[in-house]
C-alpha cells in the first residue's frame, strides 16, 4: 500500500462537514452537532411476523423461502448426512467448495461428500474467490434466517468465504430451525452485539440470483447461483 491511498483525497473532511452543518443552520461559529434526538421509540408497526414456536417459524420460513424460489429439504441431525449425500447425487454434483464452521455440522457435510463421491475443493492460501469457479456447488452453513421474507443470513469470517454462496451454479445451505428469526426487525440485535463487531460482509439472501431486465421476464442464475437448496434441520 502506498501512502497516497490512505490520504484523504478531495475536499478536506472539516470543510465538507462544515457545509452540512451550515445547511442545517447550526449557527456561527459552527458548534459541534447536537446529539440526535431519539427516533420513534417503536419500529414495531413494520413487524410482519411475531415471535412463535420454533416449529411454526420453520414451517413459515419453508413456505416463504419456497415462494422466493429456494428449495427446501426438511431433515434432522441424524439424517442430515444421508439427505445431503442424496441431494448431491441427485443434482449430479462432482465437486464442491465449502464454507463451514468446524463442528458436527461440518463433519456431517464432509461425510456426505465422501458418501456421494464428491470432491471437496481445497481453499488456497491467497485471499481469492478463484477456486470457486470450477466447483459444481458451494455448501455453507448459515448465521441466521428470517421467516417473514424466507431469507438466510451469512457472514464472512475465517471459515466463511464471500464466494461459496455466490460463484458456483448451485448453493446448498444448512440451517437449523432454531436459527430462524421471526422478522427482519429481529436481525439487527444479532448483528450489532457489541461483543462481536460486524464482519466485513454480512449477507441476506432471498432466493437464487435473478434478473428481469429483458422485457420483465424472470430468469435465474444471471451472476450468482441459479439454484439455492436449503437443508432445514428440525429439532
Amino acid at each position: 500500500m502506498t501512502m497516497s491511498i490512505n490520504t484523504n483525497l478531495g475536499e478536506p473532511r472539516d470543510d465538507f462537514l462544515a457545509r452540512v452543518r451550515a445547511a442545517l443552520r447550526r449557527g456561527h461559529p459552527i458548534a459541534p452537532p447536537p446529539p440526535p434526538t431519539p427516533l420513534p421509540p417503536s419500529l414495531e408497526p413494520a413487524r410482519l411476523v411475531s415471535p412463535a414456536s420454533t416449529a411454526d417459524l420453520a414451517d413459515l420460513f419453508a413456505a416463504r423461502a419456497q415462494a422466493v424460489g429456494m428449495r427446501i429439504t426438511r431433515t434432522t441431525d441424524a439424517d442430515l448426512s444421508a439427505r445431503l449425500a442424496a441431494l448431491l447425487t441427485q443434482l449430479g454434483i462432482r465437486s464442491a467448495a465449502t464454507s463451514l464452521t468446524p463442528g458436527p455440522l461440518a463433519d456431517a457435510v464432509h461425510a456426505a461428500l465422501r458418501a456421494a463421491d464428491c470432491a471437496p475443493i481445497p481453499r488456497p492460501a491467497e485471499p481469492t474467490l478463484d477456486h470457486h469457479y470450477p466447483a459444481d456447488a458451494g455448501i455453507t452453513d448459515a448465521h441466521a434466517a428470517i421467516a417473514e421474507s424466507g431469507s438466510i443470513v451469512l457472514r464472512s469470517g475465517p471459515h466463511h468465504s464471500r464466494g461459496t454462496h455466490l460463484v458456483p451454479p448451485i448453493h446448498i445451505a444448512l440451517l437449523r430451525a432454531t436459527q430462524i428469526l421471526p422478522d427482519l426487525l429481529d436481525l439487527a440485535p444479532t448483528l450489532a452485539a457489541a461483543s462481536s463487531p460486524l464482519p466485513s460482509c454480512t449477507l441476506i439472501i432471498t432466493g437464487p440470483s435473478k434478473t428481469a431486465d429483458i422485457e420483465g421476464i424472470l430468469v435465474t442464475g444471471i451472476h450468482g447461483p441459479r439454484e439455492v437448496h436449503i437443508l432445514l434441520i428440525d429439532e
Binding site: 410482519l48 463487531p197 460486524l198 441476506i204 440470483s209 451472476h223
Partner: protein
C-alpha cells in the same frame, strides 16, 4: 434466424442524460409519443410493476400500510434533520473498520478521487455495479478516458453499455428496449449466436461477465444505505453482480450520496422492507449485503490520524478468507447540501428522503407517455426526477420539468417515504414565477386570467364572449344529450393553440353555461 427489424440508427452524439442546457422536453417527448413500440414497452412494464407494488404492500401490511410508510419517512427525515451528527458518526465508525472515507464536493472531485485510487491500485479492469450516483457524476467515461476498462455488470446496464445507450429507469434501466435489441447487441458486440430467448441471452451474459470477474482488479458500486452506528455500507441487488464487484477485486470503491445515511441497523429493517416491495414487489432483494470495512486481516487497522488518541482500540473481527484489501467510500455532496438547507415544512430537504425505489416512475402517467426516462434529460427521471433534477442542477437549466406532471398525485401515493411530490412541483413552479423564469406570454396570460377570475362581471363577460366566438368558428357539433352538452368541435386552431388540435379536437363550450342552466333550474324548482 435473421433479426426481424433493421439495426437502430447510430446513437446521437448528444448523451441522453446529459443534454445541452437549458433542456427543453418537447422534442424528445413528441418523438416518444409517436413511437408506438416504445409506448407499449414502457406502458406494460410500468403498469405491471405499479400493480404488483400496490398488491405486495397491501398483502404485507394491510391497513397498516400508511403507518409503515410514515415510519419509514420519519426515519429518513430524522436522519436528514441530524445529518451532520450522523455523518460524523459514520465517518468515525467507517474509519475504525479500516475503510478510507473521502469527501467530494462535486462530480469532478468525486471522479478525481476515484481516478486517483484506480491509478494507485494500478487498475486495468474495473467491474461496476449499477449505481445512479455514478451516472450522476458520469464516472464511466472518466475511467475509460484514464485507461481503466470499465464494465457494467448489471444485465440491463451491461446491454446498454454494449449499445452505447443510457438507462431510462432508476431500477429497471432497459425499460425502453426489447429482447431483439439485446439479441442484436450480443451478436454485434460479443459475437454470440442470434437468440431471442431471455434465458439463453442471460447465459451468454453470465459466461462473458464471469471471464471478466476473475481478471478485474477494481470494483465500483454505489450504496443503498450507510449505517452511522456501524460505519457500514448496504448494497441491494437481485442479480448478485454487486457482490462480485465487492468481493473479487483487490480494491472496492463505493460512491454514495450523503443523504443515504440511516442511524443504526435496526432502522435498516424498516427501510429494506419498503424498498424491495416498492421497487419490484419482493419481500427483500435477493442479495442485501452489509459491508463493514475491507477484508479483515485479524489485526486492528492503523488508526486514522483524524481520530483522537484517547479512543479505545477498535474492535477487530476475525480474519477473513477473502474480500478486498482496500475499501474506499466516497461521500458525495454535489448540490445535496443546497437541498438540505431548505428545511422548512414542504421544503427541498424532504426530497432527500428518496430511497430510489422507482415506484413513482411506475405510477406516473406522464413518465409512461413520454416513453420513460430519457425525455427528462437527466439521470433522475420520472416524478422524483422532475423535482430532484431542477433542485440539484437549477430551475434555469430544467424549466420544463416542474411542468412535466398532471399533479394527479399517483407518485405521492406510491412513495414509501411519503415525499409529497406534487407539492414540490407546485413549489418549484412558484419559484420559477417568482424569479422571472416563467415566459412572458405565460406570465401575461396568467395575470389576465387572475384579473378576470377575481371580478365576477368580467368573468361573465369573458365567458360569454368566448362561447360565442368559439362556437362561431366551430364545426356543427353533437345534439344536446342533456343540459349544457351541445358542444361543437374545433378541429384546426391557429398557432399557438394548434398544439392541442394537432392530436385531437377541441370541444367548444355548450350553447348555454352552467350558470344559465342553474338559474333556470332554480326557477323551475321554486314553482309549485
Amino acid at each position: 434466424m435473421a433479426p426481424p427489424t433493421p439495426e437502430p440508427a447510430a446513437p446521437s452524439p448528444e448523451h441522453p442524460l446529459d443534454p445541452p442546457l437549458p433542456y427543453t422536453i418537447a422534442a424528445r417527448a413528441r418523438r416518444a409519443a409517436a413511437d408506438l413500440q416504445l409506448q407499449q414497452f414502457v406502458n406494460t412494464a410500468t403498469r405491471n410493476k405499479d400493480r404488483a407494488r400496490a398488491a405486495a404492500f397491501m398483502a404485507a401490511f394491510g391497513p397498516r400500510l400508511d403507518e409503515v410508510r410514515s415510519l419509514a419517512a420519519r426515519i429518513r427525515q430524522h436522519t436528514l434533520d441530524h445529518l451532520d451528527a450522523y455523518l460524523e458518526q459514520f465517518v468515525e465508525n467507517a474509519t475504525k473498520t479500516g475503510a478510507v472515507v473521502h469527501f467530494a464536493r462535486d462530480a469532478a472531485q468525486a471522479n478525481a478521487i476515484a481516478l486517483a485510487i484506480a491509478r494507485d491500485a494500478g487498475a486495468k479492469l474495473c467491474i461496476k455495479a449499477k449505481s445512479m450516483v455514478t451516472e450522476e457524476i458520469r464516472l464511466l467515461p472518466a475511467l475509460e478516458a484514464a485507461g481503466v476498462t470499465t464494465v457494467e455488470t448489471d444485465l440491463g446496464e451491461f446491454i446498454l453499455q454494449l449499445d452505447g445507450d443510457a438507462p431510462s429507469h432508476i431500477v429497471t434501466p432497459m425499460i425502453h428496449k426489447d429482447r431483439t435489441a439485446v439479441a442484436r447487441a450480443f451478436v454485434r458486440e460479443l459475437g454470440a449466436p442470434y437468440t431471442e430467448d431471455p434465458a439463453h441471452l442471460t447465459l451468454i451474459a453470465r459466461a462473458h461477465l464471469r471471464s471478466l470477474y476473475r481478471k478485474a482488479d477494481l470494483g465500483i458500486t454505489g450504496g443503498n444505505f450507510l449505517i452511522a452506528s456501524t460505519g457500514s455500507l448496504v448494497v441491494c441487488t437481485n442479480e448478485g453482480n454487486a457482490d462480485f464487484c465487492m468481493s473479487g477485486p483487490r480494491t472496492h470503491i463505493a460512491i454514495v450520496g450523503i443523504e443515504k445515511l440511516i442511524p443504526a441497523p435496526e432502522h435498516l429493517g424498516v427501510l429494506l422492507k419498503v424498498l424491495a416491495r416498492s421497487s419490484t414487489a419482493q419481500p427483500l432483494t435477493v442479495y442485501t449485503t452489509i459491508i463493514t470495512g475491507p477484508r479483515s486481516t485479524g489485526f486492528q487497522p492503523v488508526p486514522s490520524s483524524s481520530l483522537p488518541s484517547s479512543q479505545p482500540p477498535p474492535h477487530t473481527p476475525d480474519q477473513d478468507q477473502d474480500g478486498p484489501a482496500h475499501l474506499h467510500i466516497i461521500l458525495l455532496d454535489n448540490g445535496r447540501t443546497k437541498l438540505l438547507a431548505d428545511g422548512a415544512d414542504g421544503g427541498a430537504r424532504e426530497i432527500l428522503r428518496c430511497i430510489r425505489c422507482g415506484a413513482c416512475l411506475n405510477a406516473c402517467p406522464v413518465y409512461r407517455k413520454v416513453g420513460g426516462g430519457h425525455a427528462y434529460g437527466a439521470v433522475y427521471s420520472g416524478p422524483i426526477g422532475a423535482i430532484l433534477t431542477p433542485s440539484l442542477k437549477g430551475l434555469r437549466n430544467y424549466p420544463d420539468l416542474p411542468h412535466a406532471s398532471s399533479l394527479c398525485g399517483g407518485c405521492s401515493e406510491a412513495c414509501p417515504v411519503r415525499i409529497d411530490i406534487p407539492r414540490h412541483l407546485v413549489r418549484l413552479r412558484r419559484e420559477m414565477a417568482a424569479s422571472g423564469l416563467t415566459g412572458v406570454r405565460r406570465r401575461i396570460a396568467m395575470r389576465l386570467w387572475a384579473a378576470i377570475l377575481q371580478r365576477p362581471a368580467f368573468y361573465r363577460l369573458a365567458a360569454a364572449a368566448q362561447r360565442s366566438l368559439l362556437r362561431a368558428a366551430a364545426e356543427p357539433g353533437v345534439p344536446p344529450a342533456g343540459p349544457c352538452t351541445d358542444h361543437r368541435w374545433l378541429t384546426d386552431l391557429p398557432a399557438p393553440l394548434d398544439g392541442w388540435t394537432a392530436a385531437r379536437d377541441f370541444p367548444t363550450p355548450p350553447s348555454s353555461s352552467f350558470r344559465d342552466w342553474w338559474r333556470t333550474r332554480r326557477f323551475e324548482e321554486e314553482r309549485p
